[in-house]
Symmetry: C2
Subunit: 181 residues, 2 copies
Amino acid sequence: MFAEAGYRDASLRRIAAVAEVDAALISHYFGSKDELFAEAMALPFDPGELAERVFGPGIEGAGERLCAAFLALWESDAYGRQLRGLMRAAASDERAAERFRGFVQSRVLPLPGEHLAIDRPRQRMALIAAHLVGIAFLRYVLAVEPIASTPRDDLVRWVGPVVQQYLSGDLASPGDGGGQP
Amino acid sequence: MFAEAGYRDASLRRIAAVAEVDAALISHYFGSKDELFAEAMALPFDPGELAERVFGPGIEGAGERLCAAFLALWESDAYGRQLRGLMRAAASDERAAERFRGFVQSRVLPLPGEHLAIDRPRQRMALIAAHLVGIAFLRYVLAVEPIASTPRDDLVRWVGPVVQQYLSGDLASPGDGGGQP
């Protein structure tokens, strides 16, 4: 309901009607609509486990592995719908935006630094996140063609090297001597 | 009002109140709320003019020029607010999503092909658009750090080469013989 109708229009009453329960029962178990929303938006997968698979084997090939894992997640029956709802909500509701921002900053951006010896791991991962989030937005939320119908393997082959460049390329600022801190 | 309150909550009555006019006057001049929205969301700049500046001088350096022009637009007093509103609306409202999709497909994706002799210009531009839109989403809409506070010049220096890679790199599918059509 949050994914389809948006945060504002998904009233406890409508949710209760679809769930065929009394709205009071939802309040009893989940508290406010915001708490129910937090529960519904809690990511059902562990980003740490995903990072282990992507970065654990080393930096070589990590770009393609990350890209493939990200797209597979968005195209999975289990998580795709929820991720689309999360992105829609983050764009239109300030509470959802805060939650999304907190998740990215505390759970996503540290991941490469936990596995790889690279300079500026958070800055690199922020650029990668921006690219992947943008692909998700155009492909899954807005359905812009041709990116919506591009075969997943083609996307991995094109975007993977770019993600790799962000991971292992030079990310220097002028005057800081080549990017090593 | 559309940018701040979202499409659904921006009623003609609220808009009229802020504008200090009678709601009937808005209906008289703009028709329905959807027509007013179309008017408000009409891009105030010409993507063709921007493409002329970016792609006109040739493919060399086009990645950095495009990246710089895109960020400058989002950070301008004239267009920044409206662009944020457009993105928020596109994520949460199906009519706005259609309009955004139509704009990208008909006005943005053809641009490099009008100036540069490259294969698959629409596919390349779709990947570039995905990256730039993702940066706008994280930087201007969600304010994810560190990307929200990264100096614009740094972003241009990091993202520009990636955009360039999408413009001038190999975009082959297996079996189509190296990416030239």
